[in-house]
Every structure is written in structure tokens, then in C-alpha cells.
Symmetry: C2
Subunit: 224 residues, 2 copies
């Protein structure tokens, strides 16, 4: 269960203040499917980074499974992020010096999974996203879409209870995009909570619940 | 005029050889509008990097305005690239330590344009892409879509005769994407040759000429 109440986020750059989020309240129940849409620069990634515990709000409350995230210690936060949350960043954030296989093993390494099992689970996740033949490629030896799929495999491999994806199909052709989303929807059927930011109108229609952000505010909620 | 004949590109990784392009021939006349489509990993970016003189083919011939690109000196190549070609990379490639304004001035600096004019033209290009209020932001102080629009402004600012854009709307919502493409089409009406890689089916329909790449080969050409 994700509960956000009056979340604000202000970036300060010298004298300039950018109000990326201006009081967002949102609840997402376990196992739900939610799409977040909105114009470029409206605050979607800022909101996702807060939900994923990669950034802290300027004010407001955030509870994840009943726990107030703002009061957790750094260690607790890191464990929570690593065990519960899978995150696909908009800019992928792959480690450039590691191969696809190694990149996908990183979250399992933090979770203390043994080498043999790490390698098997990482290879399986890469096959699931259609990259069984790119295990030994580093990020600069893959196309944009392939790098995005490595980032998706890395988010899935720890079997998280919450999967947050920030434009997971932005670099994919429509067929590859559909295959990836079919995979994410099948994980949701098994119980994973799925929150996806997308600019793709056709994809947004596949979600039973749609939330629109504009200028840092939640302006529309739709049940489809 | 762009003339590619039997272009191949092979990446070697130790014993593995990846045949990204397997003999592509393509002619694009001055002032044309061409869309390149195809699945993730099919060779689109590889082809664009060769057309934009950012990479060299393994074999085959490439003539740009009648000159054989393979025979040009490094200096000639750099001048050609800087004066004739505007390029929007799939991964943006903005300089992280520079502001949006400074990033857009960089190509003008190489072209020897004076400071005053550089600053005015760069600010105008950023306003044209809707970022008049983000001149002093660095890449990590902007959203994904805003960074993409800075990359587009940088490609336009030298008023190139060829504009190559690798998924210029991949990180944009449909409205921002349409506005950007209206801007690029208006440049084409003034004579700029425009080649765009896109996964967006609706956008591809706006192009009179469509080229499809699969598995490193040109498999379809369509006049719409
Ligand atoms: N430096 C490299 N070393 C090895 N293989 C590479 C390298 N760069 C690209 N490749 C491979 O070449 C093929 C073509 O890549 P390219 O980036 O041109 O694809 P693309 O059509 O642009 O895909 P996308 O739509 O995902 O961006 C891919 O299969 C990729 O794995
Ligand atoms: N570190 C920062 N410093 C200052 N402003 C920032 C920073 N990061 C983001 N912003 C601003 O906050 C606003 C929200 O950014 P965010 O990345 O959340 O947008 P978004 O909805 O994800 O957009 P896109 O669809 O383009 O990815 C933008 O206007 C952006 O310029
Ligand atoms: Mg974003
Ligand atoms: Mg590409």
C-alpha cells in the first residue's frame, strides 16, 4: 500500500525555485495497475523518484506498507528499496563498465544472493526481455532499445512487490513495446503492484486506472 | 544529396562479430523528408551515425554532396559535420557540466560565431522548443523531455542543410512531440533535408517517404 499526502518538491538553484510538485495526494493498493501521464516537465519522474525512495519530498507524508518513509534510517530505506521495489529509470542508469549480465546481477548482489543463483536468474530475466544473445555486451555495445530492456530485466530480477517504470517503452518499436508490457502485466497478475509513466496513448488505455499530472499537480483520475 | 551504396557495419567483440548493417543502399535528395522505421536493434542508429559522419562503415561507399566521405581528411570531415549536419542523438549526449544555454552554443563556438550572436541564436533556439525558462538549468536539473528538446535546439542552431534526428520525440508527450515535429517540418519547407528515425506510427505517416530496416537490411521503401 502506497499513501502519499500533500507531497511537494521544490528544487532550489541559487535564487530560482522550481516547484516540481505542488501538493500531490495519491493512494495505490497492493496489486493495483496505475498509469501516470502528463506533459513533458510536469513532475512525473519527480513523483516516481519519491515513490521509489530515490528522492525525498520537500514536505508532505509518504507511507509505504504502513511505515512512514521519512522516519526510516538509511539502512532500512536501502533494504526496503532493494527488496520491495523494482525501478526502471527514464535514463536507464546502467553501469557503463559492466556487461548486460553483470548489470542485471547487481540488485541480487545487494540482496545477498549466491553467485550461481545470481547468474541463472539474471540470464533468465535477460531472455524474458529478448536479450538472451546480448549477455556479454556492455551498454555502449547495444542499441537504445536494448539498453532499455536491460534496465527492465534489472528491475524484475529481484521479484519486487512494487514495480515502478518511467517510460519503459520510450525507445522501443511497437512490437517490442507490446511484448515488454505483456510481461509486466503478467507479473501484475501474479500480484506485483505496477505503476507506469507513459506518453504512449495506446498503452495508457490498457491500464484500469489513469492519473494525470500537470504543472506539479494531480489534475485528473480516471477509471477505465 | 546523400548516396549510400552497399554499406555494411560489423562490430567485433573478441570472437563475436555483430553484423549491424548488411549492405544498405539509399539515396536522399536535397530537401527530402524521410522517415526510418524498424524494430529495436535493427540498425537504425548505426545507419544514422554513418550518414551523420559520426561513424565509418566497414565497407561500401558514402557520397555526400558528390564528395566521397571515406576520402576526406579529419579536418574536412569535422567542418562538413559542423556546417552542414545537425544531429539529434538518441541518447541526447548533452554536456552535463554546461547549462542548456551553453550546450546549445557549443556548435556555434566551433563554427567561429562571435559570443553576442552565439548567445542570441542559442536563446532563440531554446525558445523555439519551449524552453525559454530553462536556459540556466544543467541537464540533471531538467526532465527527460526537456533534455531531449535541448538536444533538438542544439541541432537546429547552426541552420544545417541536413537535419538527422534519432527518435526526437521518444521522451515527449504527444502535444510536445507534435509541436517539435511542426518545427522540424517548417525547417524542411525552407529547404532543410530531414531524416528522422521514429517508433511512433502516427508520426511516420506524416512523412512522404518511409524506409524500413530489419536485421541490418533495407526491407521496404514506401511513398505515402
Ligand atoms: N559497439 C557495438 N558493439 C557491438 N554491437 C553493437 C554495438 N553498437 C550496436 N551494436 C548492435 O548493433 C545492432 C544495431 O544497433 P542500433 O543501435 O543501430 O539499433 P537500432 O535500430 O537503433 O535500435 P533501437 O530502436 O533499439 O534504438 C544491435 O543489435 C546492437 O546490439
Ligand atoms: N534537479 C533539478 N533542479 C531544478 N529543476 C529540476 C530538477 N529536476 C527536475 N527539475 C524540473 O522539475 C520539473 C519536473 O521534472 P520531471 O523530471 O519530474 O518531469 P517529467 O514529467 O518527468 O517530464 P518528461 O516527460 O519530460 O520526462 C521540470 O520542469 C524540470 O525542469
Ligand atoms: Mg520524466
Ligand atoms: Mg537506435
Amino acid at each position: 500500500m502506497i499513501e502519499l499526502r500533500d507531497i511537494t518538491k521544490t528544487y532550489r538553484m541559487g535564487k530560482i525555485a522550481v516547484h516540481a510538485l505542488r501538493g500531490v495526494s495519491l493512494e495505490v493498493k497492493a496489486g493495483e495497475l496505475v498509469a501516470i501521464v502528463g506533459p513533458s516537465g510536469s513532475g512525473k519522474s519527480t513523483l516516481m523518484n519519491i515513490i521509489g525512495c530515490f528522492d525525498v519530498p520537500t514536505s508532505g507524508e509518504y507511507r509505504l506498507e504502513g511505515k512512514e518513509v521519512g522516519r526510516l534510517t538509511d539502512n532500512d530505506l536501502a533494504r526496503l528499496r532493494n527488496r520491495k521495489i523494482g525501478f526502471v529509470f527514464q535514463k536507464f542508469n546502467l553501469l557503463p563498465q559492466l556487461t548486460a549480465w553483470e548489470n542485471v546481477q547487481v540488485p541480487l548482489l545487494y540482496a545477498g544472493v549466491r553467485l550461481q543463483e545470481r547468474r541463472e536468474r539474471a540470464a533468465k530475466a535477460l531472455r524474458q526481455v529478448g536479450l538472451g544473445d546480448r549477455l556479454h555486451h556492455r551498454p555502449n555495445e547495444m542499441s537504445g532499445g536494448q539498453q532499455q530492456r536491460v534496465a527492465i530485466a534489472r528491475a524484475l530480477v529481484t521479484r519486487p512487490s512494487f514495480l515502478l517504470a518511467d517510460e519503459p517503452t520510450g525507445n522501443l518499436d511497437s512490437n517490442s513495446g507490446r511484448e515488454i508490457m505483456d510481461l509486466l502485466f503478467s507479473l501484475n497478475e501474479e500480484g506485483t503492484t505496477l505503476i507506469v509513466v507513459t506518453h504512449d496513448g495506446l498503452l495508457a488505455k490498457r491500464f484500469p486506472r489513469l492519473v494525470e499530472i500537470r504543472d506539479g499537480q494531480l489534475v485528473r483520475e480516471e477509471v477505465q
